[in-house]
Structures are given as structure tokens and as C-alpha cells.
């Protein structure tokens, strides 16, 4: 009797894990296996028919064909992440420490854009930056842009779109880690002869590092793989790796090429993230 209950107890964790494991196997492991196996296939007899021939040169071909877009993706994603951090940090700081009774309202406002589709919001940016938009008119009026200058179909528009779209992913983890800081440690810092700025540099910022790391990862990773912003707000010279993959898959019907690029993108991001986390030493922070 006691043995039976004991065995049951031991089974419980696995039972609880089961739904998640099934989900992972169907929607993560299986697609990855499929992706990797597709990436080494070669053209069969008919168009769109590919056979497994373990051609690893696919990776080299795919990469050499799309190297500029590759580097551009990481550059744009890096810029968008940096801008998002610069915008989000003061915002998250204000919400965490200075907002008083407005805290919840402000948090809802941060998340509010998610009530509209990602696509619609990006199209809206087309309008905002477009010929009839206030931004362009203002810049022309101030002679920052010439009468023929434009904002859409520029790298600026793509990075701005990326920054905007992924901003909440930066703000929320930052807010969460700032909110967790015991205000008394900040008081203690002031009590121990640190001015406001020194307190920020020596206490607040180091304590918010887990949020900075989480926020930059959550912004950088999807931004690097994004193709909607480059598609809608960019021009042929601002194509990112996501656009290349989409085109190979949907227009050229080069499944192995698309798969190889996807795999390289994933592997590169994974390596970058590991190096980044190692460097920031997140496990050292709290």
C-alpha cells in the first residue's frame, strides 16, 4: 500500500511534465529534425521535389549567396536592441519607482499595442513615416530633410519599425527587475555617501542587469529573424535574412536553401546569446 502511493508520488512530476513535453516534441523537436534533414537535400526530377543526398555544401552556397543580408540582419537587430534599451530603461525606471498610483495604467499602456496585429502596426508606421505623415512634414519644414527626402523605404524606417515592434519585450523584463529592487538598498547607498548618480551606477544598474540581459535577448532574437519590417518599411537594399528565407521558400521554391539559411541563423543566434550571457555573467547577478 505504502509502496504503491510512493510509486504514484514518483510518477507525478512526469505526469505534470507530459503536456509540455508532447508540445515540445510536436512543435519544436520534429520541425527542427525536418529542417535539418531538408537542409542537405538536392533537387529531384520535378520542381519542388527534393531528395536527401547529404549535400553539406548547401550551407556554404546558401551563406555565400546571402552574406550581406545576414550581416545586415544582425546590424539592424543590434541597433534596434540598443535603441529599445535606451528608450525602455528610463521608461521602466519611471514606472517602477516614480509612477505611484499610475503604475498599473502605464503597464497596460506598454502592452496595449499587442491588442492590434503586428502586421497592422507595421503598416501604420508606413503611414506615420509616409508622404502624408506628420514626421516627414515636420522634418521637411525644419529643413532636416530636403523637399525630395523621404523616410519610408530607408534603413532608418526598418530600424525604427523593429525598435517600435519589440519595445515591450525590452520594457517588461526591465520593469520586472527594477521593481524587485528593495528601495532600502538605494537608501542605504545614499546613506553610505553615494550621490544619486553614483547610486544608479553602483547599485541600481547592476541590480537591474538580469532585466537588461533578458530584455536585450527578447528584443534581439526576434528582431534578427524578422522580415515584416524590412518588407513593409524597407527597400531592396535593406533586405534582411528573414526576407531571403521567405523568398527562397515561397518564390524560388528552394527548400534546402531556405532550410540551410534558417539553420545558420538559429545557430548564429544561439552562439551569440551564449557568448553574451557568459560575458554578462548573469548567474553572478543575484
Amino acid at each position: 500500500m505504502a509502496l504503491a502511493t510512493n510509486r504514484k508520488k514518483k510518477l507525478w512530476p512526469y505526469i505534470l511534465l507530459a503536456p509540455g513535453m508532447v508540445w515540445l516534441v510536436i512543435f519544436f523537436i520534429a520541425p527542427i529534425v525536418k529542417l535539418v534533414s531538408t537542409s542537405t537535400q538536392t533537387q529531384g526530377v520535378n520542381i519542388g521535389e527534393y531528395v536527401q543526398s547529404y549535400r553539406f555544401a548547401n550551407f556554404i552556397d546558401a551563406f555565400t549567396g546571402a552574406a550581406p543580408q545576414f550581416f545586415r540582419s544582425f546590424l539592424y537587430a543590434g541597433l534596434a536592441t540598443a535603441f529599445a534599451l535606451m528608450i525602455s530603461y528610463p521608461l521602466a525606471y519611471a514606472i517602477a519607482f516614480k509612477s505611484g498610483k499610475w503604475k498599473n495604467t502605464l503597464l497596460v499602456l506598454v502592452v496595449a499595442p499587442f491588442f492590434t496585429s503586428f502586421l497592422l502596426r507595421t503598416i501604420a508606421w508606413e503611414q506615420i513615416l509616409g508622404e502624408q505623415g506628420l514626421v516627414l512634414k515636420t522634418l521637411r519644414f525644419l529643413h532636416i530633410l530636403g523637399p525630395t527626402g523621404h523616410l519610408t523605404a530607408t534603413p532608418f524606417a526598418v530600424v525604427a519599425g523593429l525598435t517600435y515592434n519589440f519595445l515591450p519585450f525590452m520594457t517588461l523584463p526591465l520593469y520586472a527587475s527594477l521593481e524587485r529592487i528593495d528601495p532600502r538598498t538605494l537608501e542605504a547607498s545614499g546613506d553610505l555617501y553615494a550621490s544619486g548618480f553614483t547610486t544608479f551606477r553602483k547599485v541600481t544598474f547592476p541590480l537591474s542587469l538580469p532585466g537588461v540581459v533578458a530584455g536585450t535577448l527578447l528584443t534581439f532574437i526576434p528582431a534578427a529573424g524578422d522580415y515584416v519590417n524590412a518588407e513593409l518599411l524597407g527597400n531592396p537594399q535593406t533586405k534582411m535574412i528573414g526576407n531571403v528565407i521567405a523568398a527562397r521558400y515561397l518564390q524560388i521554391v528552394d527548400y534546402p536553401g531556405a532550410a540551410a539559411l534558417s539553420f545558420i541563423l538559429m545557430a548564429t543566434i544561439l552562439i551569440l546569446v551564449l557568448v553574451y550571457i557568459r560575458k554578462m555573467g548573469t548567474d553572478e547577478v543575484v
Binding site: D182, R184, T185, E187, A188, S189, G190, D191, L192, Y193, A194, S195, T198, K202, V203, P206, L207, L209, E284, V285, V286
Partner: protein
Amino acid sequence: MTDASKSAKGDLKLSSLVKTYGEFVAVDDLSLLIPEGSFFALLGPSGCGKTTTLRMIAGLDEPTSGSIHIGNTDITYQKPYDRPVNTVFQNYALFPHLTIFENIAFGLRRRGIKDVKDQVDKVLNLVELPHLAQRKPTQLSGGQQQRIALARAIVNRPALLLLDEPLGALDLKLRRQMQIELKWIQTEVGLTFVHVTHDQEEAMTMADTIAVMNEGKIEQMGSPADLYDSPQTAFVANFLGQSNLIKGRVVDSDGDANVVEIHGQKVKVLKNRSVAKDSSILFGIRPEKIRIQPGAHQLSGCVLEGGVISDVSYIGVSTQYQVEMPWGQELMVFEQNDDGIPPLAKGDPVKLSWETIFSFGLDGSEDASAGSEVNPDED
């Protein structure tokens, strides 16, 4: 950042300090002089304004009016980081991302001291935790964190060290040990300690001088023995230990004592131990000063007759009795278990007696239960 203020030395002087939050008066016209080098305790229930007072001294809150001086330097509106004052926070507030060494060195480094190792090591030895220098605060026990918080403050040699309920989070045994240690460290370093607490035992064990606070005001100030033996308000009598307070009337004078009539019986209180303004008096006697005897005994000193034991609690070192008096009031009596006689039983008729010098008199218009409902262990 003026060096003159950081090196300010001398007595701490609070003058007519007021702090209001909207309608609520947290600190009400408080004036205090705390001599340099003393161990001073602000004692009171939660919400009495003691923490607000401490925060104003630390510079974390700004007074609504009044002033704060250290020696001759006015620090009322100085930034916390410009004051020669350090605080040991209630929850310690150690920096979780820094090692113990860096936590302690924090204040020294901020003042531009390059070679901190000697001073940090010295203070780590003082709190007897030199082996923990490279740990993080979360790896320490509560008692160890408490000592590090203390070390982080005293390493700066402030003119004034503030302690905000420093032992509140520790268990009873550790708290006792730390009380003794804190007192020893204070003597060792010779700094002025201002200690805020709701725990009367903690205040009495450590402080040279205690100010009992209630509703933003100081009820009474003095040495622990002064406050305990000669309380001047019902609040102090009840908050600091326990007291029996009985309504009475001064009916006569007998040398240096007043004769007080309590429901038909006569007792005495020394004139210099009574603060009653007129014949209406609140007569007080501490429970452990009372002798309890079965009916027939001959008794000396003050005597109250006609009591009946309504409750007996045996607690080892003493036995605590509740005695119901003829006028319905329950009096407390603590009797040392040092005579080998078995305790009296519930329902026994008894007489109570005590030496006249122990009784005290309070103003008769006071509420006899003031300060007794507040639970001193509540935060």
C-alpha cells in the same frame, strides 16, 4: 559635499521637530538632546513616530518644520550622503550584487579612500566574521547579515549611528546575544548610537537613556531604571513592563508620603514619587514588588485586603497570580519561586502588601489602560 559637515562632531540636537503627512501628525514638536558617545533608544509602539524621527535624522525624510544639529552644524536639509550619519536598516539592506567585503568597503570607496583593506578587515574582525569576506549576502544567515550591516555602517566612523529595529528579524536567543554584542561594540568604538525599537527589553538591555514615544511625542525620558521604577505616565507604566494602576484619592499627608484611599482601604505613596496634580490619583505598583500572603498573616508596609486569587500561572522562575479585589479590579502579582512553599491555589483569599517606597502616583485623569493594549511584539 562640505568636509566641515562630514566631520561634524558633538551632541545630536533635535529642536521642535514636526513631520506631518497630510492631516496625520507623525512627529509632533519633538525636542531632544542626545549626548555624544551615548547609547540612546527611542522606544514606542508601531506608528508612534520613532522611525520617522530616525529617517529625518538620516536625511531620508525631510522635516515639516524644526531643525536637526550635530554639534553646531545644522544638518536639517542636508542630503543623506552629505551627513556624518550612517544607518543600520531594519532588513539590513545589504547590496545583493556585492561581496561582503565590497558591501563594507562601499562607504569608504564613495569617500575616495583607496586603501580600504585594513579598515574592512578590522571591522570584520570586530563583528567576528573575517572568513565571510568573499561571500554574497544571500549566502549568510540572518544573524550574520545583521552583523555585516552593522560593520558596513561603523567602518565609516560616523558621528552618529542609527539603528532601525536592528534585531527585529532575529529569533529570541540570537537577539539576546546580539544585544550584548551591540552594547559591547558601542563601548568599543565609542560612537553615538541612536536605536529605534518597539521591544522594551531590547531598549533596556542596551541603552543608557531611553525616550518612550507615543503618538509623535516623548512621554518620558531617562535611564532604564528611572523609567521602570518611576514612570510618570500610565503609558510608560504599562508599555515598559507591567503595572497595577488603581484609581484613588489623596486624603491625607503623613510626613514625606501621601495617604491614598482606594475603595475604603488606605495605602501610601512617597510625595516625590507622585506626579498627581490634585487629590485624584492613579496609584501604581509593579507586580513583582507585591508580596502575596494567605489571609491571617501580619503584614508591614502598604496592605490591601480582601483579594481572591482568580488565576495562577506557574512559569518556572516565578508564579504569576491574578487577584480579584473587592472592587472588581484584577491585580497582577509576580512571586519568585524561592521559598519552597507550594504556590497558592485559585480561589484562595489573600492579602497583598509592599514596601511604601515602591509605589508611585500618576495623574488621576489618565487612562489606566494607556499603553497596555498595544502589542509590543507587533511590528
